[in-house]
Point group: C3
């Protein structure tokens, strides 16, 4: 057992054993956030670069705090101020960064496969913090970590994922990770937000209506409607979306009484989720954020420690 | 004695004892900036987040340097790159941040009461680094620290505050802190820049003309004219403002010969203050900046150390 | 021997001894980037401020990583968020920064002489990270460090610099440093990109055609065409520029067979350099970047250590 990869690019190619190793390591890091001194020397002298071609305070801050609590040096690079604006190619940008000898590069990019391209090109470890609509593996892993505090991960567990599946790397990474652990995943989306072929994945059930998806599930994952992309008009109106697909008390009552409610954030209250559900005792949305720091500490630790071997 | 609050939100509700505790602690931190190694381990393992919804290099840098000299991990978040742009509510943004277990959040926001709202909502300590035109307590406290190097703080001392009082959180925080210590505050502003009701505060004297305000005072605080807000036209022209309200040698001669001149910066030379006055020996404007780091170290130390008790 | 300056503002006034001291120190820092723990405590408790009035991820990141590997606290300030937008003068901005007691300020500014102005005004050490088209000394020094791994620095060595000489602080700093070491510098540019008077500098040869400049040289330095400035139309078209001045295999064959190819980055592949040359074994472009971190560690170390004496 262990985690012997150079990179964490997605959950699609992770084995159940690898997922469990990551979760166990993260479990041990959860305790650090509760200490008065939230810092361990594990990655002292290591350099972690947050290379964000798309803005994301939330994810960048989570990785930055994770790196600093491991005593690594964290360096933030955002695209708006980067050489990208000077017309340099992505690989040249990354080659240059590699020449400065970072240990881990956390990368977010709007293009599918960007993290894979970079990882194949350089010696530093690469963590995919989101590549287009493809994968966002640390989000799926922190979701698993959060579920595992309430439910036993494995066959018999049923998770509903509802929302804009087609444009969601969160959904995609969760589908791969959950099904790898033998968990049943019900997906539900408006036809314009549902990618083809999902029904062919073992363990995935495609549902037309949210009521069908929610029936008796243990976990409800609501996806964010990306308001900033609504010019694409994937749905007549937000009000219609909320009425048909939004999670409210009435719909949540269809799930198991002890079902937990998740959301990757930032939430659009009143759109994909009502405030009373978001703030209810069934919601574990803020635990997801806390677990995000612990999970990312585990990822950085497992990747960054390899140089010692 | 001591400082037992979770947050520092304003000077309005600070007692004279609390103010003195903060100043005494800051006094002890002033010496650190003069050491070859300007660092103490006081807040090692603590996370300080600078959450700035309004840009401010000056204040953010001062807090960041203060945090780092205390060995805390400092994380900067600016609104332009934050989830705010994705439509998330302020409290959801802050809840998420809290879930990452920061120890202290330093917040600047354009809305009055933002820091109070946040502080009441989360467990981390909150420092108000400016909420609209309401309060900016660390600025007032660093001003007191600066005055105390030259004058005895207490009854008998007279301070003139001249400029755009209505839109100045610096003025407001100073008025509360100075009057709490029994110091007389003379305020002077054009009618469009003078809030109502100031004359009802014990210890405050409202003056029509700067000559009246300056007469025999020990301390002159000039406020910045916010050029970037001049579209609101609170005064016919900058030239007129400078002619009537600007501090020049001639007007300064009305104050006590040993009066000190203060400005919270950034200065508009030739508008609210002439260059010869700004650069004169009576000006303590750069001492204010130096004291700002020491004062903020004291604030972070007193708030951040509470977790240990 | 030693380096006893307060500041590093340019290569123009450096002696050969000073250059050699900097290179020797940098040589010793090169090894640190290859350690598992890339960190030394040399500048613990020191504050390094990166004050960038022009955006530059590459240079800022290199200085930030260098500072952190020396255990200094690094604080980044970019102009877009600074008080500059509030109308404050450069010297007031810098005075304020100085009041916060930084040890070293790394400054980039679009105006020639900005770093010199700042250095003459404050007590902190200043490193010029680029002032307009004037100087960028750490780039020239890292170029020398890179050359020194392949060639003996000194009389007999011949370096060709080809491109937009007139607008290149990289060219200017290299010309001063190289000629100070007795190295012959051949410069070649379109007439609109060639400053007057270069031919009067001892050791500099101005060539009309790149073929003439390349003939038998040991080192080829290609300069970046600043696409973002092409509205000025210094050349009919990029295609024409590439055809006449770009470095390709055919032209490179005119240099010595063991000649090395350099570029300060970011490269415009297909414009000033073809991809096959940029990726060839003769190219040392990524070594320049690696050496940049080591060289900047040396500069920060030599300047920052003075406070101890």
């Amino acid at each position: 057992m262990g985690f012997r990869r150079k990179d964490l690019l997605g959950t699609r190619d992770l084995s159940a054993d690898e997922i469990r190793t990551l979760l166990e390591s993260a479990e041990s890091f959860k305790e650090i956030a509760e200490r008065p001194l939230k810092k361990v020397p594990a990655l002292r002298g290591k350099t972690v670069v947050n290379l964000f071609f798309e803005p994301s305070t939330r994810t960048r801050t989570s990785f930055e705090i994770a790196a600093k609590r491991l005593s690594a040096d964290a360096v933030n690079i955002s695209a708006s101020t980067s050489s990208v604006v000077k017309g340099e190619s992505l690989l040249d940008t990354v080659d240059n960064l590699q020449a400065m000898a970072p240990d881990i590069i956390v990368v977010r990019h709007k293009s599918v496969g960007a993290a894979h391209l970079i990882a194949g090109h350089i010696g530093a470890s690469v963590v995919n913090a989101g590549d287009g609509a493809n994968e966002h593996p640390t989000q799926a892993l922190l979701d698993l970590l959060t579920i595992s505090a309430h439910k036993k991960l494995g066959p018999g567990l049923r998770v509903a994922i509802i929302g804009d599946i087609a444009h969601s790397r969160v959904a995609r990474s969760n589908i791969w990770a959950l099904t790898t652990l033998g968990i049943t995943v019900r997906v539900c989306a408006p036809p314009t937000m549902l990618p083809r072929g999902l029904e062919n994945i073992k363990g995935v059930e495609v549902c037309r209506r949210p009521e069908e998806a929610l029936d008796g599930v243990d976990v409800v994952m609501m996806l964010r409607i990306q308001l900033e992309r609504q010019d694409r008009l994937l749905f007549p109106s937000l009000r219609d979306y909320a009425a048909i697909f939004g999670l409210n008390r009435r719909r949540l009552a269809l799930a198991r009484p002890d079902a937990i409610v998740m959301h990757p954030g930032p939430m659009n209250r009143g759109v994909e989720i009502t405030s009373d559900v978001a703030d209810s005792e069934q919601a574990v949305i803020l635990s997801q954020v806390s677990n995000g720091v612990a999970l990312r500490m585990a990822v950085l630790f497992l990747l960054g420690g390899q140089g010692h071997e």
